[in-house]
Symmetry: C2
């Protein structure tokens, strides 16, 4: 990964000697500040308060939270620390109730705990670090696979934040963009500002500026006009859930980007680890879509914009069907023009 090192300098979650450090994503990019955590309780609150966001990053954070919980429990009761640990495990699990990676990481740590004898801290710390390292390794693998799909150098467009801030490091869609940029395949990154939460403006632009990759923001509604100008070769996005038919749920606005990509002959790539793939749902249209508080649209940056009496419709995700997706990239391989059969074959690979 030598060639990409200059474009991979950020870790949102890091263990530093005896404490967990999280970059405070609520105040980026104005302020770059790592907050330090010495107890699982504080870590649970940090997840809840959105100091850290992005499903893989939350999973890694929770794993380190278990290390802190075990350290405290073992110090208090070396003979009985496994039982003492459970309230902290529950607090961590309750911190963000819908995050699949959070539960997955806690279960993995719990299984490991059951086999430990003596001081659990060195072993659990190693395991938490492995969870982070494996996530980064998966992102590197996806980065290489995704970049291999790009031939001619060109501009790419992305949506929301899928980078180091959202993962153990490097990123999913943004990891592909990092790898492709390092290989000279990306001339310019366009980032949707991503209303209503502006993750593109607040987080993606910050990451790319920090990592020396040229980025221009644009209004979500301007992406079609950009594609019409020519020059954009790929749209590269992440996913919160991929179903067995090759549909991909992702941040609201992704589906609009996919429709426009198809219309303009821009290729569309979805990048996500297999932990995101839910083979129990056979049709993307069955994915339930959460709707959030209309207030998030009626106000901007805490200031009321819309008239009293106006309503708003605020879905969190949309679903892009397989016919609009040129390639799904996971750490296990590439699925071109996804079908249920190809998805199954990819999941069985490894």
């Amino acid at each position: 990964m030598n060639s990409t090192r200059a474009h991979d300098t950020i870790r949102a979650v890091r263990w530093n000697s005896d404490r967990l450090e999280l970059i405070d994503q609520r105040i980026l990019p104005a302020t770059e500040e790592y907050l330090a955590y010495q107890s699982a309780d504080e870590v649970a609150r940090a997840i809840k308060d959105m100091v850290v966001r992005g499903a893989p990053a939350i999973g890694v954070t929770a794993a380190f939270g278990v290390v802190l919980a075990a350290r405290a429990a073992y110090a208090r009761a070396p003979a009985n620390w496994k039982a003492l640990l459970q309230p902290d495990m529950q607090a961590l699990a309750a911190s963000r109730p819908t995050a699949v990676n959070l539960f997955w990481a806690l279960e993995r740590m719990q299984r490991y705990i059951e086999a430990i004898e003596g001081d659990p801290v060195p072993a659990l710390l190693a395991e938490a670090q492995r969870i982070q390292d494996e996530d980064i390794a998966a992102n590197y693998a996806m980065g290489e696979l995704g970049a291999s799909l790009m031939d001619a150098p060109g501009a790419v467009i992305t949506h929301c934040n899928t980078g180091s801030l959202a993962t153990g490091g490097y990123g999913t869609a943004l990891g592909v963009i990092r790898s492709a940029y390092a290989q000279g395949k990306v001339s310019q990154v366009y980032a949707d500002e991503t209303r209503p939460w502006l993750q593109g403006s607040r987080l993606t632009a910050w990451e790319l500026v920090r990592d020396n990759i040229p980025v221009k923001l644009l209004a979500d509604g301007a992406a079609a006009h950009l594609m019409k100008q020519g020059g954009v070769t790929w749209a590269v996005v992440g996913s919160d859930r991929i179903t067995a038919d090759g549909s991909a749920a992702n941040k609201i606005g992704t589906y609009s980007l996919a429709v426009n990509a198809k219309y303009h002959g821009v290729k569309f790539m979805v990048v996500a680890p297999t932990s995101t793939v839910d083979m129990s749902i056979d049709d993307g249209r069955k994915i339930p879509i959460e709707e959030r508080d209309p207030e998030e649209l009626l106000s901007v940056q805490g200031k009321r914009i819309a008239a009293q009496g106006a309503g708003a419709w605020n879905p969190v995700f949309d679903v892009t069907p397989p016919e609009l997706i040129d390639a799904i990239v996971t750490e296990r391989g590439i699925v071109r023009n996804p079908t249920p059969e190809k998805m199954l074959a990819m999941m069985k690979n490894g």
Copy 2:
């Protein structure tokens, strides 16, 4: 227009005994305040400062500005007022250099001035009022024509602000929505918030709430997901310039909406008076697109959002080609599936 009266209560520009009053669109919807103007100089500054916006509304405002200029000039020099007037005419013309309706209104007033003898105020006031009344009448006509295209009741979606605030009154696309709602053909209006200036949130939602038409705002990127749910029958938008081939330039984001409308089988209507039609341009791709200060995207509501070093691409308009437009509606008639021949025939009609 009895049936629509409850849905047509707003005038952004109005003459009140001896002064011009403009609703201050910069502070809507938080504050509804009409500012009063007694001199052309103040009116020019109000246009420049965006107290009033929307090409037809600016034209009407400038016409009343000429009345104020003539009144002052005639009071100072009854024999020589026409010459004395010219600096004010120039100040009004310079207030917004690209607004075609502004020049059109000033030229119409100037032609009228040349024939006047004696006190010019009553005649010029009547002429300015005629300009406003004709604009409103054109909007009523377009409202009826556009509504006649809608058969089954359903939801509609619109972009930016094209209502009473942007025109002499009633509106273009929003005028069609007013008429169709009064006729029971619209169950719900969805309004794109319209980044980066948020005209949908700030202005369109306010107008519709005021005029008792149910409105829900949505992020621009959510329109595709909305159309996929079904229930939206028409997208109805305005235009800043329509070319001889039936292309329509409009606020950035309109083209994305049109691509998504085509993909989802939602019909797409462009509503604008013939004063917007530029038959000298034979191809919409030749319309120059202004790009504005990236800062408008990098900051939101005066607060810096994006990282230092991030760029932004901030085009003001995009162009929707005729193949994505089901109908262009002007005060002279409806052009279905626009072609150069049909555009020419419509322009010759009347």
